[in-house]
Symmetry: C2
Subunit: 357 residues, 2 copies
């Protein structure tokens, strides 16, 4: 229902209705001017031609140095979502199953199913601080299991997997020879130090993107870090699908990496403030939630809530949120994205708290 | 071998070697300034956020009016190649076969196979002016046939399907209830009036892009025109893969449509001159070929040629061409793209004619 609500919100807006969109993780902050100017300069230099399906070498070299791998381990994708689709398409074609802890980002489940895999969901709970149980994970694995998805920090909970749990998960995956696909798109701007899957060597795969750290959501650029053979496979798929991410967009991302420090500082500060404002209002309305470890989401719960009906009603009142059912079996939850200015967060949360009374 | 030669050419260039690249259809002409400025203006206006997976309504409305369809029949894709992949992925999943006249653009065959379909090739010959035989087409169709691909004008021959042949092909497809996917990415700049699949009503699908007409190859933007149900399916696939084409790129494409007339005039004139220069040199070297009906390609033949060996030797001499084997069973042919300035065409053709003596 996530995408339907979004298309409906876009349609209402195009009809002139004012909607405060807390339904998607698309930050209100502008793409930094330096990044826009870098794209424009690259366009004027004629970087508007076909490029390599691996991505531009300079960008791959820079990312390799950031992540302490080789350029041959890096492939550029049109967003981290394409990274996930292409890896599932290549590694799960012909069946098998994939284990996905819930609450999950909708696209994992939809993508696994569309490529012909089945999904095994591993439920985590608010009452247990969203902790993934290594025992339950191990019990879910069978002969057909080909992949475990981690989303760290998590969308929709903004929870970071604690290092001991992550150690245990990787140990189980290594023992059973199963690939972990770790989506770490929020890790760079996490409020808490987040261990990466790359800290555990070459067996597993990192997928991430520039959208969140560099406020480049609509630019569609991300990357995969994996063993060389997997990078080659993704590149061959790129050749017959997307060809390449526009080179001027890759140049813009490279500029982003150069000004990385100042950007992440600014984003973290702003989102910490927003999370405090929202947290206070949600607490006062007696909603249950865990304090976010990272931007942009909070995933509150109200006992007995029908979140789909709730989300549709709210849309009519000018506020878009995502129902909990979009993230697995979480009917009593809804997700809010703190990706609008503080004043709008207050207005929207007033409407939400009024509606939920 | 097409992609391998291209990656090798890019690598040689990055090592400082000078390569005249006649191997890919990437025009040397710059993206028009008006289009670049439109993209820049849109970026500065904040059109850097997630957009609709259908594409921007304004662009879809404009394209609908150009093609005399409704906006609900239009979906924007990251290049026409994505259009082809997504349609094959959605319509051929689970098997079946697709009929592809040859010589063909490499991606059709690779894509059909990667999505699990088989391909049935329908050979056309230089000696017969590349005419598709409706009788042979009808004989190839069986119960498992789900799609016929047309590429009109054709890559690599630059041949336009004559109206009578196209009428016959569509009649057969309609009778047998098989979808035609017509890739018409070169039709807008064709030297010859080209009939579109859209002239035959709603049963079939048009795929095209902005790359060739607007010199926007590296921008990755194209579109599909199809029945509403197919547009909906592609949009749902877009939602879990590419999300959207960057909105500022869609704005740039919209600007391109506004200045369409002057652009196509300029491109056609330049490529007609290039084709004349190349045609004269190829004739003098006693190579066989048909006079192109459209930019950018010529597909000459030399009896007894091993075009793969020939292409690799040429690359060492600083000229990249595509071997005929990349387009089907055409070992004695090679494809040259006239997508470099006139003087470079002359230099490269001198090297080619010297090598082929």
């Amino acid at each position: 229902m996530l995408y339907e609500i979004n298309e409906k919100a876009i349609k209402l807006e195009s009809q002139g209705k004012r909607i405060i969109k807390l339904n998607i993780g698309d930050p209100d902050l502008e793409t930094p001017t330096e990044i826009i100017e870098a794209a424009y300069a690259a366009m004027k230099q004629g970087k508007t031609k076909y490029g390599s399906s691996y991505g531009e070498l300079r960008l791959r070299e820079k990312l390799a140095s950031v992540h302490h791998v080789k350029p041959e381990n890096v492939v550029i994708t049109p967003g981290s979502k394409w990274g996930i689709f292409s890896l599932m398409y290549l590694l799960l074609k012909g069946g098998g199953n994939v284990i996905i802890p819930t609450p999950y980002w909708t696209a994992y489940d939809l993508t696994a199913k569309t490529v012909g895999a089945t999904t095994k969901l591993l439920k985590t709970e608010l009452d247990n601080n969203w902790k993934i149980s290594p025992e339950k994970l191990e019990n879910l694995i069978d002969k057909e299991t080909r992949m475990i998805i981690l989303n760290n920090p998590n969308n929709p909970t903004s929870n970071v997997i604690d290092p001991e749990t992550l150690d245990s998960i990787v140990e189980i995956a290594n023992k059973k020879k199963i690939t972990i696909l770790s989506d770490e798109v929020y890790s760079d701007i996490s409020f808490k130090k987040t261990k990466s899957i790359l800290d555990y060597g070459e067996n597993h795969i990192l997928v991430t993107g520039f959208s969140k750290t560099f406020t480049m959501t609509g630019w569609r650029i991300g990357y995969i870090i994996a063993a060389k053979e997997i990078v080659e496979k993704v590149t061959r798929l790129n050749q017959i699908t997307i060809t390449n991410v526009p080179v001027f967009i890759q140049e813009a991302a490279l500029k982003g990496l150069e000004i990385h420090g100042q950007l992440t500082r600014k984003i973290k500060e702003e989102y910490r403030t927003r999370a405090e404002i929202a947290g206070k209002m949600l607490s006062e309305a007696k909603l249950e939630f865990t304090k976010p470890d990272a931007p942009f989401y909070i995933f509150p719960k109200r006992h007995g809530l029908n979140s789909e009906k709730f989300a549709l009603n709210l849309l009519d009142k000018g506020v878009a949120v995502a129902p909990g059912t979009s993230f697995g079996d979480y009917r009593e939850h809804f997700r809010i994205s703190l990706t609008v200015p503080r004043e709008q967060i207050k207005t929207a949360l007033n409407t939400i708290c009024e509606e939920i009374k």
